[in-house]
Amino acid sequence: MIDLQGYGPRLLEGALVTVELAVLSLILAVILGLLTASAKLSRNRLIHALGTLYTTLVRGVPDLVLMMLLFYGGQIGINMLTDQLYYAFDIDIFINVNAFVAGVITIGLIFGAYMGETFRGAFQAVEEGQMEAARAYGMSPLLAFRHVRFPLMMRHALPGIGNNWMVLLKTTALVSIIGLTDMVRVAAEATKATHEPFMFMIPVAMVYLLIATLSEWGFARLTKRYNTGFGESSEWNN
């Protein structure tokens, strides 16, 4: 067994933080992505412009810069807001930005833009005839969305979601820079204390590879499921 010089439990805790962060921000990103895709497909010009502005800005700026902006700026921004509330309405509240919550919101916000592009393409790839058929069967709009448009859309969106998830997973490493104790930060601290970079960084890298390999397998299964009825399964490539 490798000797982690007592850093083992902390590395495990860090790994848990990484996984929690990745999964929670993925959920947020999917919700934001669906909203963005609807905005970009909307006929309302203002909503369409807002969706485009969001995806263009977020995808044009490095993740780390956005993260620093939201993380360091978030607390100041909220303080300014609560100050205004105090002066205007005499409401005295103090909101402390939790590093983990800030991390989830930031990564969710960044990948919401990428997911939005994925979902937009996927929604457009669904044939109109399918929806017409659903309407002809007398399905309500909600039922038609749930049973027809969404599953058909997922078939086209899955490869993109898979890619985004892989990039998201690796992006979570950046939260170690802004002070969240994920496994990269524990490994970096251990490296600085013991001067043994390989002993800590390589196991952490292996954990990332393990998660990536497992999710690749999971996505292959999902792809198979959503490809039901479409003959050969389209290859999922990252």
């Binding site: 810069v65 490493a173 001067h195």
Partner: protein
């Protein structure tokens, strides 16, 4: 010119954060970022071409190590690769006594190595995909002309594959520009490093980071513009008629 500098000084007067001093920080950061990204992309490209050809080889002892390399480097965060090279370089025996220490002492070169290895892995996969998707007819035609494998690779497969890989490679260039922001973690004063310095000095996160975000946005759009032009020129034969 004098008028311009006068106008500039007037614009900056009354602004406590964006003085000529901090703007020069941003400028130095811009130069560092562009140098780092350009060099690592260039070196990565040089590495990726033979690797992509080898990746498609029938011989397993060539194919598998390259696959393992791209799998590991694409499956782990760049930040970890950067830490490994940055902290790990001193473990090469005698490097501190050799002439190489002059360059490895600075953070720039470990960062350059980590970025190059990372982008080479992604580029290898992009080129490999493009080579694999070469139209069968092109290869058959080359074979019918009696071309050797080498000649066919040089004259037919690679030029055609590079063109088709262009859109994906453009994305990789933008990805690398954005990924280079982590260089600021290992004491390199790149654009993000400059922004962090300005933030820490004036405690002004909005000004410091929004300004640098705008610079990155301009860089991203310029890269996109160049690649769009290139695609238009080089992929003209693939466009639908009248499109």
């Amino acid at each position: 010119m004098e008028q311009l500098s006068g106008w500039f000084t007037e614009l900056l007067s009354g602004n406590l954060i964006f003085t000529a001093n901090t703007l020069s920080f941003y400028w130095d950061g811009l130069v560092t970022t562009v140098q780092l990204v350009f060099l690592c992309l260039l070196l990565g490209l040089v590495l990726a071409v033979p690797l992509a050809i080898g990746r498609g080889s029938k011989r397993r002892w060539i194919k598998l190590p390259i696959y393992a390399y791209t799998y590991v480097f694409r499956g782990t965060p760049l930040l970890i690769q950067l830490y490994l090279v940055y902290y790990g370089v001193v473990f090469f025996d005698g490097i501190q006594d050799s002439i190489f220490w002059v360059v490895f002492k600075q953070a720039f070169f470990p960062a350059l190595i980590a970025f190059t290895l990372n982008t080479a892995a992604y580029t290898t996969e992009i080129f490999h995909g493009a080579i694999k998707n070469t139209a069968k007819g092109e290869i058959e035609a080359a074979r019918a002309y009696g071309m050797s494998r080498k000649l066919m690779m040089r004259r037919i497969i690679l030029p055609s594959a590079f063109r088709r890989a262009l859109p994906a490679y453009g994305n990789e260039v933008i990805f690398m520009l954005h990924a280079s922001a982590v260089a600021s973690v290992v004491t390199i004063m790149d654009l993000t490093g400059a922004a962090y310095y300005v933030y820490a000095r004036f405690y002004a996160p909005f000004q410091a980071f929004i300004f640098v975000a705008l610079i990155y946005l301009c860089l991203t759009f310029s890269i996109m513009f160049v690649f769009r032009k290139l695609e238009k020129r080089l992929l003209a034969h693939l466009r639908p008629l009248g499109g």
